[in-house]
């Protein structure tokens, strides 16, 4: 199981790095929100991976909370993105 932990951890780490690159580059705020949503899912995956390898259940409630957090973030930014200053959007 240690091999699985290392391999999956490396894969998840590479994914997190690629997502950070996209968050840094991201031309619009919505690109960053999409990437941040996936980054939170990567965090959930990492917590679940650690819990699975060490067979403990203390982080399960954190999984539930974090998996809801990405949704609220994406929805609120998408709701209020028209007034943001990242593009020259059409006037209302």
């Amino acid at each position: 199981m240690t091999v699985v932990l290392v391999v999956c951890g490396v894969l998840l780490g590479i994914s997190a790095l690629l997502l950070l690159v996209r968050i840094t580059l991201g031309p619009t705020m919505l690109d960053r929100v999409v990437a941040l949503d996936v980054l939170l899912a990567v965090v959930v995956c990492g917590l679940a991976l650690e819990a699975a390898v060490h067979q403990h259940t203390s982080t399960l409630s954190i999984l539930v909370v974090v998996s809801l957090l990405g949704f609220t973030g994406a929805v609120s930014v998408a709701r209020f993105t028209r007034g943001s200053d990242d593009v020259d959007e059409e006037s209302p």
Partner: protein, 126 residues
């Protein structure tokens, strides 16, 4: 070889598959050209990867008391990913950030009462 060993091997396979799918989602988000295609990669491989990892966790824990919480995680992903993607895509489209020449079918422009194909100078004139 007891059934716990079989469950452990299955769980390891699930965890590896989920991590690979997450990596695929990250590569797609980095490489795809605009928000709509990035959302495609952010929802489909990502949700499947998370579900598979949670399945691997359930196989590894083998505790009926935790199944409720794990099912809740999977259910939240299934429920919230389409809604969040819908809102992000709609906000991106309405803010004029979508390159309409890349679209195959464009039904939202007709609904909004806008021209289907944007002129090149539309962004500057408005």
């Amino acid at each position: 070889m007891s059934w716990t060993d079989v469950a452990d091997v299955l769980a390891a396979a699930c965890l590896l598959t989920g991590a690979l799918l997450t990596l695929l989602a990250a590569i797609g988000i980095l490489r795809f050209p605009d928000v709509l295609t990035r959302m495609h990669s952010a929802t489909k491989p990502q949700v499947l990867g998370l579900i598979v990892i949670v399945l691997g966790l359930a196989l590894r824990l083998r505790d009926p008391a935790t199944l409720g919480l794990l099912a809740l995680v999977a259910l939240f992903q299934f429920g919230t990913a389409p809604v969040a993607s819908h809102m992000v895509g709609r906000a991106s489209f309405r803010a004029g950030q979508v390159d309409r020449d890349l679209l195959v079918v464009d039904e939202l422009s007709a609904t909004l009462g806008e021209p289907t194909r944007a002129e090149p100078s539309e962004g500057e004139t408005e």
